[in-house]
């Protein structure tokens, strides 16, 4: 029994997380990724103080000027500072990334937990609904939803969030099924705990590990999706900057002003790489048997 | 272990070391193993899990993956050092001369090939010409499986049947040495006896030598001529079966015997257990590696190990204070 407990990583106190963190700290790639994300969060929070110019401040004397001392990453077609716009843009990306995934995690986690816990017809119905959703390629679904909802930050989050629900639901269901019949759940039930209580206090905490790994990787996905939707004109509306939208606006100037297409893409890539490194690191740290 | 003057040994392992470099440090799996096996004989290779028995067997087949594994020492098979063989020579050796039955029949067969194909693969690698399928069917019959079942996939067979398939694969090319790595550990008790009987029967039919890796002294008594006891990567005692069972010299061997439940024992008496755990192979104790668990440990043991010596003719032990002497001494004290 001891072995089983250790293997599935049932949380006993904080030791699981402490060990995870110790292992994670040894993974320098993951630590770099974490540092990059922290920097991005700080940039997003303190954008007004850090950014040298406002995101909409136009300077008609400085239209599409390449990087210089005054404008480190150059200026765009309205004479706006690219660096400042990238800094403000991190707000959109991070918000969409984290909030969309929170939506998916909450909705998908609940669906998966209910399906796995109750089983039978409930399970069947919920999972068939998820199957139907999975039949539509995610990015297309996001496009349809955001074209229906219309542009805007909030709608973007909803559209991106919905697409990730089935993945969390399936993962949660699988975890619940693996935990459901263990003795401590039966013990809780025997003590008269309600279904909600058992799910929330006993099952959920013990299924968190795979969900957190998936969530980290999904934040990266969500940011990519948001950028893609903005690139198609379905995301945040100008003049507010969004990295995908900036790339879309830069397209006509690819020949003359390539830097306009390079920096926003670089910002997206660095963010995604950082999140992927943290996600991979977390997975290895939480599941040491995989990496031997 | 040069105690076989009559005929040159079939397998002669000399001073074998195997290490693995891992994140957790260097694992010293085999530490100066000396072992020899004469043609036609069967040797029981006994020790706890993690003693390095399987690693030593894989080294004989040159199947230690490098990296992370590293090997030093000599392994003579039919007079040739397998460590110095070329890759084609090693391949001819594996399966053709030395074949192995693995511990877990659930995982040691390829799940997406029929069992017949898996036996045929062995046959076609080591014997020229057609007839691989016939040979495969013949082998299945020999191990007591209806040849029609050759078209089945491993998951359609029971554990016992899968292990029979493993035996069929191993013996298909009539190897001169069969290594059986805990062939019954993963099986139900009722099946264990059948598989052991099968190995015993086929060993005499095919006239192959047998190296039986096990932790089960009962099984060893049933089919082996000689016994070697391994602890923490090296032998602690070796002798022929009768000698060793009659008079175990090493306290570890004694411990193994004490841990076997006996029908004639007093039912109220507790089963003796060797206290402590097998040593961490990344951090072996100084001196005799059994010293931390030894009931009769003395200062000398923690200082240095004794080294293998012939305590009685044909009975080797690596202990400063073998059991018999101590028993005598204790008896002397007591009376």
């Amino acid at each position: 029994m001891d072995k089983v407990v250790a293997k599935s990583g049932f949380a006993r106190g904080n030791s699981l997380w402490r060990y995870t963190f110790i292992r994670l700290r040894r993974n320098y790639l993951a630590m770099i990724g974490l540092a990059v994300i922290l920097v991005l969060i700080l940039a997003a929070v303190f954008a007004e103080r850090i950014a040298p110019y406002g995101y909409a401040t136009q300077d008609y004397a400085m239209i599409r000027k390449p990087p210089s001392a005054r404008h480190l990453l150059g200026t765009d077609e309205f004479g706006r500072d690219v660096l400042s716009r990238l800094i403000y843009g991190s707000r959109v990306s991070l918000q969409v990334g984290f909030i969309a995934v929170s939506i998916a995690l909450a909705a998908g986690g609940t669906i998966g937990a209910v399906a796995g816990y109750f089983g039978g017809a409930v399970d069947n119905l919920l999972m068939r609904i998820m199957d139907v959703q999975l039949a539509i390629p995610t990015i297309l679904l996001a496009i349809v939803i955001s074209s229906v909802l219309g542009p805007g930050l909030f709608n973007l989050m909803i559209a991106v969030g919905i697409t990730a629900i089935p993945r969390f639901a399936r993962l949660m269901r699988a975890s619940v099924l693996s935990v459901k019949n263990t003795e401590f759940i039966e013990a809780a039930r025997a003590m008269g705990a309600s279904h909600t209580r058992v799910i929330l206090l006993y099952i959920m905490p013990n299924c968190m590990a795979p969900l957190i790994v998936q969530a980290t990787i999904n934040v990266a996905n969500a940011i990519l999706f948001a950028a893609t939707l903005s690139f198609l004109g379905l995301g945040v509306q100008p003049p507010y900057p969004e990295w995908g939208g900036m790339l879309s606006a830069a397209r006509p100037y690819l020949r003359g002003n390539a830097y306009l297409s390079v920096f926003p893409g670089l910002a997206i890539m660095i963010t995604i790489v950082a999140l992927n490194c943290v996600g991979d690191g977390l997975r290895d740290a939480l599941d040491p048997k995989q990496k031997r | 272990m040069d105690a076989a003057p009559v005929s040159a040994p079939l397998l002669d392992i000399r001073d074998l070391f195997v290490r693995f470099r891992t994140d957790a440090g260097v694992v010293h799996a085999v530490n100066g193993l000396n072992l020899s096996l004469r043609r036609g004989k069967s040797l029981g290779f006994v020790g706890e899990t993690g003693a390095g028995k399987t690693t030593a067997a894989l080294a004989a087949l040159q199947l230690i993956q490098s990296p992370p594994g590293e090997m030093t020492g000599e392994i003579f098979f039919e007079g040739q050092d397998v460590m110095k063989m070329t890759e084609p020579e090693k391949r001819a050796l594996r399966g053709g001369k030395i074949a192995m039955i693995f511990q877990d029949p659930m995982s040691s067969l390829n799940p997406i090939m029929t069992v017949e194909e898996q036996i045929m693969e062995m046959v076609s690698l080591h014997s020229a010409g057609a007839g691989a399928r016939e040979r495969a069917r013949e082998m299945l019959t020999l191990v007591g499986i209806r040849p029609e079942r050759g078209k089945d996939y491993p998951h359609q067979l029971s554990g016992g049947m899968r292990q029979r398939v493993g035996i069929a694969i191993a013996l298909a090319c009539e190897p001169s040495l069969l290594i059986a790595d805990e062939p019954t550990t993963a099986l139900d008790v009722t099946i264990q006896a059948q598989v052991i009987d099968l190995i015993k029967k086929l060993q005499s039919e095919v006239r192959t030598s047998l190296l039986l890796i096990t932790h089960d002294l009962g099984v060893v008594a049933e089919i082996c001529d000689e016994v070697a006891i391994m602890y923490a990567g090296r032998l602690v005692e070796a002798a022929d079966l009768r000698k060793l069972y009659k008079k175990p010299l090493h306290p570890y061997t004694q411990g193994l015997f004490d841990a076997v439940p006996r029908l004639d024992a007093d039912p109220d008496e507790k089963l003796a257990v060797i206290s402590g755990l097998t040593p961490d192979p990344t951090d072996l104790p100084k001196g005799c590696s059994f010293s931390p668990r030894c009931p009769n440990v003395r200062d000398l043991c923690r200082e240095r190990s004794c080294g293998m010596r012939e305590h009685e003719p044909g009975h080797f032990v690596d202990c400063h204070f073998p059991m018999q002497d101590r028993n005598a001494a204790n008896r002397g004290d007591g009376q």
Binding site: A135, P137, V148, L232, L247, L254, V262 | S108
Partner: protein
């Protein structure tokens, strides 16, 4: 005898999988119809423009059955789609949706096919070689490149490729998809992240499989390392790789939207982007439906391929 029974089982499995697909596709159709039905905006207004008279709009609505109850309209849509392959009418393009789609499907199929072929043919061998030479320079380099690969948005990859190969080097055209030289950049753009993902999953799956007991058994038989890898390890490692390829196909179809937009390729993707900008819902609906069905069929094909690779799935 056994072989025959095995084949019968396999056939039964395939038929069952196809039958299971039908309700899923019908549900997808219903869901898409529902979403777009309740979207604000009157199709009659969109079709006739803001200046249309009330009478004209009423006539239009009557003609196209827009005043019927929701369920009737949904039923009609599904009936026509299934029986007549009729996906409705684009009031903006003044043309049937099926016709508009059918003229563009071949191009998109060609793009998707080459992208899948290219990413599989590059990704799998790359992953296998990395697993064989774990921790080598090649392995570390590939790990790094694939990490960047999965992190680059398709549209940015496309822009960078155009920048390098069309603008600076002037080797390859940046528009169109008819000649082989026109096909290179779009296919590479679309394959980029898929190659990276396939290489990564192949590597980790191979690393897992080459440590299994049955691969050791194959080596203990005296089999050549190359044969051990190709005959024992890779087929077993293919099972998770196939899953990823079929899942990737969905992303790839989505990515074709972007790729077609960037390289001005007139396929289904570009048609849909135009439809999104014009709020041409019948086209959006038809396009998503087509791509979803294609996605389901590919998943089905992969599931069937699975059953051929892995007897545990259909033989019980």
């Amino acid at each position: 005898m056994r072989g025959m029974r095995g084949k019968a089982r396999l056939l039964k499995y395939i038929v069952r999988r196809i039958l299971l697909l039908i309700p899923v596709i019908l549900c997808v159709t219903a869901v898409l119809f529902t979403i777009l039905y309740f979207t604000p905006g009157d199709p009659a207004h969109i079709a006739l423009g803001q200046e249309a008279t009330r009478e004209a709009i009423a006539a239009f609505r009557a003609e196209h059955g827009l005043d019927d109850p929701f369920v009737v309209q949904l039923g009609r849509y599904i009936y026509r789609a299934v029986v007549h392959a009729d996906l409705g009418y684009s009031y903006i393009m003044k043309s049937p949706v099926s016709y508009e789609l059918s003229t563009r499907i071949p191009t998109t199929m060609k793009l998707a096919f080459w992208a899948v072929a290219f990413s599989t043919l590059v990704g799998i061998p790359l992953g296998v070689v990395c697993a064989m030479r774990q921790y080598s320079l090649l392995d570390s380099l590939t790990t790094l490149v694939t990490l960047l690969g999965v992190s680059m948005p398709t549209f940015w990859t496309g822009l960078l490729l155009i920048l390098a190969f069309s603008v600076h080097l002037e080797w390859l055209p940046s528009m169109g998809f008819s000649t082989p030289s026109e096909m290179v950049l779009p296919v590479v753009t679309l394959s980029g992240s898929t190659i990276a993902i396939i290489a990564r999953i192949t590597r980790s799956s191979m690393l897992e499989v080459i440590r299994t007991d049955y691969v050791r058994t194959a080596r203990a038989k005296g089999q050549k390392e190359r044969v051990v890898i190709l005959r024992h390890a890779l087929p077993n490692a293919m099972i998770p790789i196939l899953t990823i390829i079929s899942m990737q196909f969905g992303l790839l179809l989505g990515g074709s939207l972007i790729t077609e937009a960037i390289f001005s390729i007139s396929g289904v993707g570009r048609l849909m982007i135009e439809a999104i900008n014009m709020r041409d819902y019948p086209i959006i609906q038809g396009g998503v439906l087509f791509i979803s069905v294609a996605f389901c069929l590919v998943n089905l094909a992969v599931d069937i391929l699975y059953a051929f690779v892995d007897p545990r799935i259909h033989v019980k």
